[in-house]
């Protein structure tokens, strides 16, 4: 059955990885819009990574001569109040938004899912206490929550990541808990207990792989929200401190000059819109793919 070079464990992992890969492909293919979302998002990520190469000007370089200029050949998206090139700031700003978003969601995904897993698995009092806390945090306006945390801690990338992940943990806990409770009732879990498996093994080895799709879909959808929240916080004035370019901050400055230089607010707005929309497309398409009820059935 096995060739001598492969241990059973290796065969197992190869088969499992192949299954995951084909599962992903099926999911993407069943809903073509998710491809669009993925491609768009990846384009933005590539642009952010290649910022030093792509940006035509130094985003921090001020110019007294060319302040508040509309789009020209040299400054494709115009300049802001300090004469800085909007396009370059836009590309560099992508880095901030994406970094904060990805880190915040990554942290929230791990912590939130574990919390939801534990609550759903153990049930009873543990569950009630955890979920009541999560429910209250969940209902708390996430922007306000983020606002308060950042105000207390001070605006830096780390603190922004903390603030945003704090608001994202309860939804992940929720989204991990419901399928955990459903799967816990399924007989392969009970079979595992009859076979003498420990709770830890059941939670991490059996339940977690089965709730991963839901968590990942949530991840892509919340990444969109995280980027929105980061922009909102920057708009209020609690984003990463200037002169570092952030999209929200750019819109804020644009808002102050809205009556005469509307392009300053327009371009970063479009940028946010594209990123958030592509992530929504991606997450939505994936979610339709994995939820059997929403598939094309009659």
């Amino acid at each position: 059955m096995n060739s001598p070079e492969q241990t059973p464990t290796q065969v197992y992992w190869r088969t499992t990885l192949k299954a995951i890969w084909s599962g992903l492909l099926t999911a993407f293919n069943s809903n073509k819009t998710s491809w669009v979302g993925l491609v768009l998002f990846l384009l933005v990520c590539i642009a952010a990574i290649l910022a030093p190469l792509l940006a035509p000007h130094d985003p921090l370089e001020q110019s007294i001569l060319y302040r508040l200029k509309p789009p020209t050949a040299e400054y494709l998206m115009g300049t802001d109040y300090y004469g800085r090139d909007t396009l370059s700031r836009l590309i560099w700003g992508a880095r901030i938004s994406l970094t904060i978003g990805l880190l915040a969601i990554g942290v929230a995904m791990i912590i939130g899912s574990l919390i939801g897993l534990v609550a759903g698995y153990f049930g009873g009092k543990t569950d009630i206490i955890i979920m009541q806390t999560m429910d209250v945090l969940l209902a708390f306006p996430s922007l306000i929550l983020g606002l308060i945390v950042v105000a207390m801690l001070g605006p830096s990338i780390t603190n922004l990541v903390i603030a945003i992940s704090f608001t994202a943990i309860p939804p992940f806990a929720r989204i991990a808990r419901a399928p955990t409770m459903a799967i816990k009732e399924r007989e392969f879990i009970e079979a595992g207990r009859a076979l003498g498996y420990s709770d830890l093994r059941l939670m991490l080895g059996h339940i977690l792989p089965n709730i991963l799709p839901e968590i990942l879909v949530m991840g892509s959808l919340w990444l969109a929200t995280a980027i929105r929240v980061e922009a909102s916080l920057a708009f209020i004035g609690l984003g990463v401190s200037p002169p570092t370019p952030t999209w929200g901050g750019m819109i804020r400055e644009g808002f102050e000059n809205i009556l005469d230089s509307f392009w300053l607010a327009l371009f970063p707005s479009i940028a946010i819109l594209i990123v958030v929309f592509s992530l929504n497309l991606l997450g939505d398409g994936l979610r339709d793919a994995i939820d059997p009820k929403l598939r094309d059935e009659q």
């Binding site: 209902a139 922007l143 308060i148 207390m152 801690l153």
Partner: protein, 313 residues
């Protein structure tokens, strides 16, 4: 039914206490001495100590806690460090504006979202469905302040249909409506996007249920099936989402209030943060907590109204 209501009420009260306690500790436990944060690094030790005494931060924690709780319950939420006026008065001054905006936006969102979601579900995978899904997805992708700015640009600045600055305190109805229009449309459309999606997926789920199959086997006309059998059943998740997103709505109202320069809780809290108005901040957190708990309670009670099975849980 009454035991259900009592149970939920009791629960809400307990949650309120728990969260207020949490608020109390958060404000005190976060890094950085509040007095120092308020006065800045350059302040002298005497000034800091004086402020701490004035804020009551030098007393034992238990005393502070009981003072806080008693204060909250009796309506004494402290005095604003910036304006000198009672916090609760400041909050009550702007609360009606926020509530007005929230409720109107919610109504708008529901009036647009629910029928659109249902229509989209019934015409599944055909043109109306694609159109609705796409537009709701786009609607969701706008950060509230972006859409607010766009609305402002187009309708207020270019077309001059609505005032650029709305005070929210117009004397006659027409003025108030004009002030309310753009902010409410902004929030309402975002709300509609969320509600459309949830109404659609909920209706799809209900349509695939066995009892709908039974109704069809009874020969009931399709429109009556939707109206009698599906509508109420599909509203349950919608109620959940509305309750949940009420929080988002209140958050988004901050952004809308800033863009349209409307008075409200949002502007108040941003102001308090910027000016380090410590007691105001505390009061703000209390009011937000109250709102959240009340919304949760109302959501739960609504379930009890719609779903007869809930009372037996």
């Amino acid at each position: 039914m009454s035991s259900f209501v009592i149970r939920r009420l009791g629960f809400a009260i307990v949650t309120l206490f728990a969260v207020l306690t949490l608020v109390f500790f958060i404000v005190r436990i976060l890094p950085g001495d509040p007095a120092m944060v308020i006065l800045g690094d350059q302040a002298s030790m005497e000034a800091i100590d004086a402020l701490r005494a004035r804020l009551g931060l030098d007393r034992p924690l238990i005393v502070q806690y009981s003072d806080f709780m008693v204060g909250v319950l009796s309506g004494d939420w402290g005095t604003s460090l910036v304006s000198g006026r009672p916090v609760i008065a400041e909050i009550l001054k702007v609360l009606p504006a926020t509530i007005e905006l929230t409720l109107v936006s919610l109504l708008l969102g529901a009036l647009i979202g629910i029928p659109l979601g249902i229509w989209s579900a019934v015409k599944r995978n055909r043109l109306p469905d694609y159109f609705t899904r796409l537009s709701s997805l786009i609607g969701l992708s706008f950060p509230a302040f972006v859409s607010a700015i766009l609305l402002l640009l187009v309708f207020a600045i270019q077309l001059r249909w609505f005032p650029v600055i709305s005070s929210g305190q117009g004397t006659n109805l027409v003025d108030r409506l004009r002030d309310l229009a753009l902010p409410a449309i902004n929030l309402g459309l975002i709300m509609a996007a969320y509600i459309t999606r949830v109404a659609r997926s909920s209706m799809l789920e209900v349509l695939s249920q066995d009892y709908v199959r039974t109704a069809r086997a009874k020969g009931i006309i399709f429109s009556q099936i939707i109206w009698r059998h599906c509508l109420l059943n599909s509203m349950i998740p919608v109620v959940t989402v509305v309750g949940l997103y009420l929080g988002i709505l209140i958050g988004n109202s901050v952004l809308t209030e800033i863009v349209f320069n409307r008075p409200g809780l949002g502007k108040l809290i941003v102001g308090a943060l910027n000016q380090r108005d410590y007691t105001m901040l505390q009061g703000m957190m209390v009011i937000y907590t109250l709102i959240v708990v009340v919304v949760n309670l109302l959501t739960d009670l609504t379930y009890g109204l719609i779903d007869p099975r809930v009372k037996y849980k």
